[in-house]
């Protein structure tokens, strides 16, 4: 079970990494507009 000394911090680290990415996303305005992206992705006609 000693492997938990690696697995738990690693999972936590991954969690913190994602928290960091999330905070970056919020700060850089990724979450400012949660309405228009879903419409804009439809605009491009990709054929």
């Amino acid at each position: 079970m000693g492997i938990l000394i690696v697995l738990v911090p690693l999972a936590l680290l991954l969690g913190f990494f994602f928290v960091g990415v999330f905070l970056w996303g919020v700060k850089s305005g990724q979450c400012d507009d949660l309405e228009s992206p879903k419409h804009r992705m439809l605009l491009e006609k990709d054929d």
Partner: protein, 715 residues
Amino acid sequence: MNEESIKEQYDDKVVKYFLVATIVWAGVALLLGIYAALELASYKFNLGLQWFTFGRIRPLHTNAAIFAFAGNTIFAGIYHSMQRLLKTRMWSDAVSWFHFWGWQLIIVSAAITLPLGFTQGKEYHELEWPIDIAIAVVWVAFGLNMIQTIRRRKEPHIYVAIWFYLATFVTVALLHIVNSIEIPVGYLKSYPVYAGVQDALVQWWYGHNAVAFFLTTPFLGLMYYYIPKAVNKPVYSYRLSVVHFWSLVFIYIWAGPHHLLNTALPEWAQTLGMVFSVMLWIPSWGGMINGLMTLRGAWDKVKADPVLKFLATATIFYGMATFEGPLMSIKSVSELAHYTDWVIAHVHGGALGWNGFLSFGMIYYLVPKLWKTNLYSKSLAETHFWLGTVGIVIYMLSMWTAGISQGMMLNAVDASGHLVYPDFVQTVTRIVPLYWVRAFGGVMYFIGYLLLVYNVIKTIKLAPKAAPAVAGSSNPVLNVSVGDLVKSSHGEGPHRVLEGMPIILTVLAVVAVLVGSVIEIVPMIAATDQSSVEYANFKVKPLTSLQLAGRDLYIREGCYLCHSQMIRTMVSDVLRYGPANEMADSRYDHPFQWGSKRTGPDLARVGGKYPDLWHFRHMLNPRDIVTQSIMPEYKWLLEQKLDLSSIERRMSALQGLGVPYTDLEVSGSVEDAKKEAAALAAAVEKDGGPQGMADKEITALVAYLQSLGKQTEKK
């Protein structure tokens, strides 16, 4: 830049290649699945040939389905949707092609090594160490290409699908590397640094998250792109999709221990896995509802369009699988479901329904778009859809019935405290007819797939002359010269390149530090852990050199795919197989062989249960001993010479990992093995068994089987 010229920059050639690879490997994965299903329906399909036995075909099937079929689907979809969502070409064409060919090479090497018996003996992580390294390299190239493309994006907002792709890259990289820390003891043979319960934890931490981050998150990204695109309506709630993403990312990583319920794993770890698994239900269903609600008011379109039918049904299967999963993760449900075909039904609902149908929907959507034509036949695609759906339903119903029947029979204890079905084979005979039904369902699904192949070929032939065949190489729009490539990679000037450097460096540094520290720390912990409290009350004998050689054969033949080595803490398990296993029982097992499916009985305490001769006869022809057995024959074990050439290196590697071999045992390993084998073979001969078995593989395997359950003593 007008829209037309942006579009010309997209690299659709690599998308086409990934799509064709998806279609080709899907066929391979499905055929192998049908073949494996037939092998369970009748042992005769094993053909008496080692390369075709179930134990070697099954890993090939799972690897082909996950890494070849689903893998190429993911890459095709990501490369296609990402360029459009970010309004830029992929960062580097060279890296894209390295990714494509590297990945196909990995698949081919899997297809060669697995039937030959080169395996690590860990599910979905069978591939040996050189291939593990190749996977890591190609995967990092893919991630780098993706991150750099995001950095070059011409659209500031990163659409939710791309977040799903990113999480896929980061998490799979970490899981793969941690589960791949192994000591090579030959060109295609290695031992994991972890043993027993530690190996079990790492493996299922990896195994469950392979499902989560290889078969779920990337496909959710594809769902959030292709459903809105195909129906031409925005996703029901973008906000919900963002919540869906972040909650999955935070919860999934903790759910792994639900694969180890009622085992020797400490209770608290089991509960942790169970709680997080149940929690997963909520975000999963949030996402499923979000996908389906996108189709609100457009069900008439779904009725008319096979693409939408596939995508919508895939989403429904996602909902089913993510309802069933948490349910099965409840400890008391696991008592019934674990080790049975219920698990097989569950994963195929996910694989055939969710991954398969989403792939097919995407293929039917993309092929006409990329080849600039219309789908050859809608009605063929419709037929494919219905054949596939009915095939899955037949598959799942038969395996649910088989799993629950067998689980209930195995767990049945009468009022006097005896097993109702003491012979394991009684429960097998009952479900063999269902194995035929399952194979039939699989064949239906495969016929549907053949219609897709025909339809796709016809569609590509319909394509305008300017864009012929697979590569679209003579298409002026798609064909990009080397000069263009250089321009597009470096077109943004030195300033942007320099600006990008710190971030790349940071990412690479973090990866390097992580890998480095993991490689340094893990083996140390794996070794020091040997003195920990769980083992204090037990004295565990390591395997002799002959038994170890036998264990390696056990792994080579994939015995763990049908036989567990873990007697659970349940009355029926204890009555059937003996005292529940302690952690100490697998203390020196690199890798652990607890198994995840019992097509045959548990072997944790099979040692000494039968005489040596019994095992010789049983391996030669199981039906000489148990008339209704469905186990393959292993004749070649009585013919092939036991290879002891690397046993010393193997023992010394294990010694380095903390298995208490003395130096004398290591240096005398060959002599010891020969002596032990000669004694065992002579005794078998005396009992009237086959002659001259002292230097044959079977002797080592029997020596190992006879050691099971005999190595641990309470102090």
